[in-house]
């Protein structure tokens, strides 16, 4: 087996968690196949980040260039393609993030290499690598092979692997690959921070989150009452924001906020990984959902299978009784 290449993702001078998660799993794969782990880092003024990665990989390939000051797949893609052509790794791991999803498929076409996205596992089986990914909202696991490809591209679901600190003591290798000018056909304009709302859900010890199962905007009143009882704030998953029932700053998940409260109660939330990514570190997680197969029960510590319209009023009543 050749190298396992991991593309490091970073923003505002910080490496993303998914980078460390991928590197952890890359070491497992490389050790099994007698291969090396190489981290690839593109950016502008990223010397510190390269140092941080030396413990995680056998080699840290760095291209430090002004052209990487902001992410643009049209700039990243040809440079990364060049690096891959030069090293012929067996696997290239990219985070299944807004960044990775924008980049990996175009890389796959440029290299004519197979791509499997949103992996929750990747294992050596015989001479091939087999990827595991989820379909149908997490109700099915799909195993995917890569045929006889020499280079395999994958995007890896954030939080699929638990990160462990490495002790590789890898060397930093500065690359001198050409970095193209930002093309006229796709130009980075700016980053826009989400507007701050009246409630900061990341600051509360108790978060009551609602999802698609809430069905009607009117049912929010019942949830507000329940949240008030527990001294918590009301947050939600994506469909509630799409419906316009709560503002974007109440959304928990990969494209919303990450919360780590003492208590997280997920009501009518199915538990898609994008949501779970934003709340999995809560101390105590309670799920109320009428679908016993909902993935949220995998993330929760305590669960009630039932109709939220019955459970929430009953729970409100029981807690009120306990306090009386």
């Amino acid at each position: 087996m050749n190298d396992v290449l991991v593309l490091a993702e970073h923003l505002n001078g910080e490496l993303k968690d998914v980078t460390f998660e991928m590197l952890t799993h890359a070491r497992v794969l490389a050790d099994a196949g007698g291969a090396k782990v190489a981290a690839v880092l593109f950016g502008s003024g990223v010397g510190d980040l390269a140092e941080k990665l030396t413990a995680e990989a056998d080699e840290v390939l760095v291209r430090d260039h002004d052209g990487f000051a902001n992410y643009n797949s049209a700039v990243y893609q040809p440079v990364l393609a060049d690096v891959i052509r030069g090293r012929e790794p067996s696997v290239v791991m990219i985070g299944h993030t807004a960044f990775g999803v924008d980049l990996a498929p175009s890389l796959s076409v440029a290299l004519d290499a197979p791509l499997a996205t949103d992996l929750i596992d990747l294992a050596v089986e015989g001479t091939d690598l087999v990827a595991t990914r989820q379909t149908h909202g997490g109700k099915v696991n799909e195993r995917v092979g890569f045929g006889d490809a020499a280079v395999r591209l994958v995007t890896v679901r954030p939080a699929a692997f638990a990160p462990q600190a490495g002790s590789r003591g890898g060397s930093v290798i500065a690359l001198d690959t050409d970095v193209p000018q930002e093309p006229a056909f796709r130009r980075f304009v700016e980053y826009v921070e989400a507007a701050a709302g009246d409630v900061d859900i990341t600051k509360s010890d108790v978060v009551i989150a609602i999802g698609r199962g809430i069905k009607e905007e009117e049912n929010l009143a019942m949830i507000n009452e329940f949240a008030e009882l527990l001294g918590g704030v009301v947050a939600c998953s994506r469909p509630v924001v799409d419906a316009g029932w709560l503002p974007k700053d109440r959304q928990v998940g990969s494209s919303g906020k990450t919360v780590k409260p003492k208590l997280y109660v997920a009501i009518g939330v199915s538990g898609q990984f994008q949501h779970v990514a934003g709340m999995k570190s809560a101390e105590t997680i309670v799920a109320i959902n009428k679908d016993p197969k909902a993935p949220i029960f995998q993330a929760a510590h305590f669960g009630i299978v039932g109709d939220l319209m019955k459970v929430v009023p009953a729970l409100t009543e029981k807690i009120t009784e306990l306090r009386a």
Partner: protein
Amino acid sequence: MKIVVCVKQVPDTAEADVKLGSDGRGIEMEGLPLQINESDNYALEESLLIKEDRDGEVTVITLGPESADEVLRMSMAKGADEAVRLADPALEGGDAWAVALALAKAIGGMEYDLVLTGCMASDDGMTQVGVTLAEMLGVPHATYVTEMEIGDGSVTVGRELEGGLVERVEMSLPAVVTIQTGINEPRYASIMGIAKAAKREIHTKSAADLCLDAGEAGEAGSRTKLLKLDYPPAGEGAEILDGTPSEASAKLANVLKEKGFA
């Protein structure tokens, strides 16, 4: 402005017990209602809003069996002008690469300024076809788009990144944009409108029409190989508090009390 919208018909499995087929390579479709993929529906709406805002023409395209005509008719009822179905069993069963290649062959032969599609299919969750298609067409792309403004020969989009951050990108046209849910409020297609659309022609294209030979289409043309479907292993999961809503709630209230929340 000529807009092509790529749509997919998917089963609604939100509340369903998904059962695997006996060959382990598909799910049992019996009893599952079919619908337009959620983010594709937002992409379609976005195309119609552009069409209404400036003169435009919307073509919807799908790859799938005859049942997928339902999604095309619904799209025409909402205001799409033309509909194309890549209709050939040989094209089915492919991975994102094979699907994107068939779409690229079909769209490459059309006049277009903008290609819109949903950012992810709710069934296979691949998040891959739109960008692959753009690269095959040789045009720029942007993914996870939650805001869009058409300029003069260009489009400026807002991409939704992690943590609520939005990245603004400007692209020249033609371009491929993958749309995230919530960008607009999709309209309703009345049954009467769908019935009227049923009288309109749906253009069909076979693998041969797209100049794809057997090795390039469907499963044979796929770069990844589907090996097997399984049910996710039951993890440790939550401790389920059972009983009637009242009994289960009493148990939970006690747990919360022990932990100091009640």
